[in-house]
């Protein structure tokens, strides 16, 4: 594609619906005869249920059913009577109401169904469970002590070159970094409406980042044909990874709807959002890094201790960043996983890379002071021109350009390199920077397109949009390909019955789906060319796509621009009401010879109050090599959103567990802090905006993850520069600086 010509008219196509309340989120769909389910959670973190007294709840006004492990409909895809001690396996999830074992506080032990939400809430408060309580393990300080790591092949040391080579370097650093449990906390609560129809067909309105993956998960659990389950998610009020899987509450809602034979709505409480839909897992990391006197890296050792639940394995690529971000011959990584009495973590924006880059990018900053080399210069000295792990070229890499853009915009050259040297009244001034990277992938997707005789185009695919503006960017790609104004193009999505689109995660939607939309429009172009070859319009029976421009709602001949036909003309002459095509899109064979990554660079200027330790941002610059930028406005918004998430990670987010009770203690929006407007300064976003020539035909790489990855390190580095104090455990609250 040559250009995107709507760059000045790039509003979110659903923006008006969202801000005027017309957009319907999962719990807002009006389903006739709906009843309300409320989940009751375990008050203990480990043990078993001896008995549940549901009598009072069952008798409460409006209550239709109380479901527990004792009377639950048996989910056909569940493993009843199985031994939970078989060992951890990934991806199985908690089987709700299957057995009486308690693995974590808040684990659903009952579903109360009533004719109103308020009645269900009240009845839920009457459920009394008797437990056989065991000693739970939720204390991170016990990892490696009383809590023993999971064993297995994937937890073996990974050594490139010489093991722990950093130890022999002229200049070296060893340090430990901690990222606490963080909760996604999208504004929209997780919610589901489940409705069984005739012939065991199931309709589900679900908060999900993937209508197809939700359809597959639910169909598998209830042993239904996929086509008999239809999942809708037209609007998703944020996910950040928490809506990437189908969680037990959704299965509980489907069970409940089955048992009361009515459509059932279930909305989690904010407290349950801490317990039931994943979190970024606490990770303790140790970095050893060594360089020669000129700053050339000799070795990096990166160790991480992560956590998972007692019933499921969840791992992250935390240590992998050290293998790929810099040129270094000797890299040793070690990853250990500790099961605790918590629910299973899940991917949270930037997943393991955000955790890993916090440690690595702080360590490099620390090393730069030992070497007396500018931290940006140190990174450039160790710039990887090819993938050091797989020894192959990058599909594209413009990280140097991203560094330069950011350094210029923040005024990096004005920085006095000495720590605690810059002042502004009572405030200490600090500059910090960091790098982030994330794999740039492309998956499979299918899209269909219908061009109508009135010159309108509908493009369809089963994808969710949890916020990045996928409908907008896909609309723009289709509009650009077909030479139509955006208001003539409708992008239909959020319905699992549409052609299969990707799950929105791992920063692959634009690359994957954008390629499919490009592909289906290309197919449509060819179909139009086929008509034009024979209808005599241009008198060219060997007409090719390259011979024409698709513009102004029609086709014109490049060699003779006066010869122009609108789509309406073409279709009506051919006596067609519509043209319909579909396209399967997948990564090219060529990609196997390349590595593809997106890169972000964050520069921050912080002010730290010399007496109180209060940290404020003076300016933030976020730059990225995310390939070709398809939709500049929503791309910029996504970078800003990532930075705001990064401010939370850096300065305030921590889900605090009281280990005496094994439960979260700040499980609400007042006590679990995310940034508010007053915390967010001017954020300047700049993209290198060079297309990746290999990854896909549209040249775009991903950017949802990199927007956040590395940011917290930039802040820690800036706080050190401002104060001379190094904070290695997030969040950087003011008591850690004073």
């Amino acid at each position: 594609m040559e250009k995107f010509f709507f760059e000045d008219d790039n509003n979110r196509v659903t923006g008006k619906a969202v801000v005027t309340g017309k957009a319907k989120y999962a719990a807002e769909h009006e389903v006739e005869g709906v009843v309300y389910g409320v989940l009751v959670g375990s008050t203990i973190a480990k043990g078993s249920i001896i008995a549940i007294d549901t009598k009072a709840a069952t008798k409460a006004p409006g209550v239709m059913k109380v479901i527990t492990h004792e009377n639950s409909y048996k989910v056909p895809g569940y493993d009843y009577g199985g031994n939970p001690a078989k060992g951890l396996t990934g991806g199985k999830g908690l089987q709700v109401f299957n057995g009486n074992t308690i693995y974590f506080a808040g684990q659903p032990i009952a579903l109360v169904i009533a004719d109103s939400y308020e009645r269900a809430v009240y009845a839920a408060s009457l459920i009394k469970a008797q437990y056989n309580q065991d000693v739970h393990a939720t204390d991170f300080a016990e990892m490696g002590k009383s809590v023993i790591a999971v064993e297995g092949q994937r937890y073996k040391d990974n050594i490139r070159g010489e093991a722990d080579a950093y130890k022999n370097a002229a200049v070296k650093l060893e340090a430990e970094y901690i990222v606490p449990n963080e909760v996604h906390n999208p504004m929209e609560l997780h919610a589901v409406i489940a409705k069984w129809g005739a012939d065991d067909k199931l309709t589900v309105w679900e908060k999900t980042q993937g209508v197809k993956s939700a359809q597959r998960s639910i169909a598998a659990a209830f042993k239904l044909k996929e086509d008999d389950v239809q999942v809708f998610a037209p609007f998703v009020g944020g996910g950040f990874g928490s809506a990437l899987r189908t969680w037990p509450h959704s299965i509980a809602a489907v069970i409940g709807a089955k048992m009361v034979k009515k459509p059932l709505k279930l909305v989690l409480t904010r407290e349950q959002m801490f317990q039931l839909v994943g979190y970024r897992p606490y990770t303790k990391q140790r970095i050893g890094i060594g360089a020669d006197k000129d700053g050339k890296f000799i070795g990096i050792t990166h160790e991480a201790d992560g956590v998972t639940s007692m019933y499921e394995e969840f791992t992250e690529g935390t240590v992998n960043v050290s293998k790929i971000l810099y040129q270094c011959q000797n890299v040793t990584t070690r990853y250990k996983l500790y099961p605790l009495n918590l629910s299973t973590p899940t991917w949270m924006r930037g997943p393991g890379e955000a955790t890993g880059c916090f440690a690595l990018e702080c360590a490099i900053d620390e090393l730069s002071y030992l070497l007396n080399i500018d931290p940006l210069e140190l990174r450039l000295k160790n710039y990887a021109e090819t993938d050091p792990e797989r020894n192959r070229p990058y599909s594209s890499k413009f990280l140097k350009e991203a560094y330069q853009l950011g350094a210029d915009k923040i005024g990096w050259k004005d920085r006095d390199p000495r720590p605690a040297s810059m002042k502004q009244g009572e405030w200490q001034v600090g500059y910090g920077m960091s790098t982030g990277l994330f794999n740039a992938g492309r998956g499979n997707a299918k899209a269909s397109a219908k061009l109508y005789a009135d010159g309108t185009l509908i493009v369809q695919t089963a994808v969710s949009d949890s916020g990045p503006g996928t409908q907008t960017s896909m609309t723009m790609i289709a509009a650009d390909m077909m030479g139509l104004p955006v208001n003539k193009v409708t992008f239909e999505y959020g319905d699992s019955s549409l052609p299969p689109g990707p799950t929105q995660g791992g920063s692959t939607t634009t690359s994957t789906l954008g390629s499919a939309v490009y592909g289906v429009c290309f197919a449509l172009q060819n179909k139009i060319i086929d008509i034009l070859k024979t209808d005599g319009t241009f008198n060219k029976t060997d007409l090719k796509v390259e011979d024409v421009s698709f513009t102004d709602g029609g086709v014109l001949l490049k060699s003779d621009p006066a010869k122009k036909r609108t789509y309406s003309d073409i279709l009506s002459k051919a006596k067609l009401n519509q043209l319909e095509v579909s396209d399967d899109s997948k990564a090219s064979e060529q990609m196997r010879n390349y590595s593809a990554y997106s890169y972000s660079v964050h520069f921050v200027k912080v002010l730290v109050h010399s007496k109180t330790g209060v940290i404020k941002f003076d300016k933030i610059v976020a730059t990225a090599d995310a390939g070709k930028i398809i939709s500049p406005k929503t791309a910029r918004s996504q970078m800003i959103g990532g930075v705001v998430g990064g401010i939370g990670m850096a300065l305030m987010e921590e889900a605090v567990i009281d280990n005496r009770f094994g439960k979260y203690i700040n499980n609400n929006f007042a006590d679990y802090h995310v940034p508010v407007q007053a915390d967010v300064p001017e954020i300047e976003v700049a993209f290198v905006n060079k297309p990746d020539p290999i990854l896909n035909p549209i040249g775009a790489k991903g950017m949802g993850e990199i927007a956040l990855i590395g940011f917290a390190a930039a802040v820690s580095n800036a706080v050190y520069h401002a104060t001379g104090k190094r904070v290695r455990d997030l969040p950087i609250t003011l008591d850690k600086i004073m």
Binding site: F661, A670, H673, Q677, D679, L734
Partner: protein, 274 residues
């Protein structure tokens, strides 16, 4: 479902009478805290007496003091010209509290009556002496980085979360309290209580009484004043510690000084010296 009556008496007297009649009745004004407490099952009044529309929202100068009606909204008081001119410290403290949405609902009387935000108070599955006397204090050995520095007991270390109250303590405010017999006045600094052995009692309001207003004497703290609030984020966060400070300078000499601290105890800690 826990049901309750809702009534809206037309006069202050009728509201006070209604409170007397039903032992579990409670006043509601903005409801910004009470509704949360009801949702959490911490309180379950059988009757809510809505006093938000009583004619108690007047802000006026009366002789050498300013009287603020108990039902004046936090946002109204903060933006009131008389308050900004004569009691700018109070305006500043109010602006530091909560969020604009909450300030638009919360009243002056309700602000004083709000309960602690100690997390253990809100989790009804855990011990808390303030919520359930004799059950124990979970915060003592728990997550308590925002808890009391002064005046705590071995029964309770919760703090009162108000910003407004810190300014009122600094400015020698007086609480005007009414019951069916008439009015009484209580120095603001004596309104809230230390926990001692009865942490479930937040203040010295007697049964059947209503806060009808606040009186703040006119002062010279209009030039040199500051409400400083240290918190974990820049807005919508309770204070780790806050300070209301004011001085009066006459001929280069500090003739009067006020200093009060918030977020450090169940009362505002004031060290007022003339």
């Amino acid at each position: 479902m826990i049901t309750f009556d809702y009534i809206r008496p037309a006069t202050t007297k009728a509201a006070i009478d209604a409170l007397k009649k039903e032992s579990s009745a409670q006043f509601i004004a903005g409801g910004t805290n009470l509704v949360d407490l009801m949702k959490h099952g911490i309180t379950a009044p059988q009757r809510l007496i809505d006093i938000s529309r009583l004619p108690l929202n007047i802000i006026e100068q009366k002789g050498n003091m300013i009287r603020i009606g108990a039902m004046a909204l936090n946002s109204t008081v903060a933006e009131n010209a008389l308050i900004q001119q004569q009691l700018p410290l109070l305006s500043q403290a109010l602006q530091a509290g909560a969020s604009p949405q909450l300030r638009n609902m919360a009243t002056v009387g309700g602000n004083m009556m709000q309960r602690t935000r100690c997390a253990y108070f809100y989790d009804t599955t855990l011990p808390c002496n303030k919520r359930e006397p004799g059950s124990g204090c979970s915060a003592l050995q728990g997550y308590n980085r925002m808890h009391a520095i002064f005046g705590a007991s071995d029964q309770c270390i919760a703090v009162h979360p108000s910003d407004m109250c810190v300014a009122l303590a600094a400015l020698d405010a007086v609480v005007v309290i009414a019951d069916s017999k008439g009015e009484r006045r209580l120095p603001f600094i004596d309104f809230h209580r230390l926990p001692g052995n009865s942490p479930h009692v937040d203040n010295n309001l007697a049964k059947g009484e209503m806060i009808v207003g606040i009186e703040v004497p006119l002062n010279n703290f209009v030039k040199h004043y500051r409400y400083t609030k240290i918190r974990d984020r820049q807005s919508y966060a309770f204070a780790l510690v806050s300070v209301a400070a004011a001085i009066d300078i006459k001929e280069n000499i500090i003739s009067d000084i006020r200093l009060a601290m918030g977020g450090v105890g169940s009362q505002t800690v004031a060290t007022n010296k003339s």
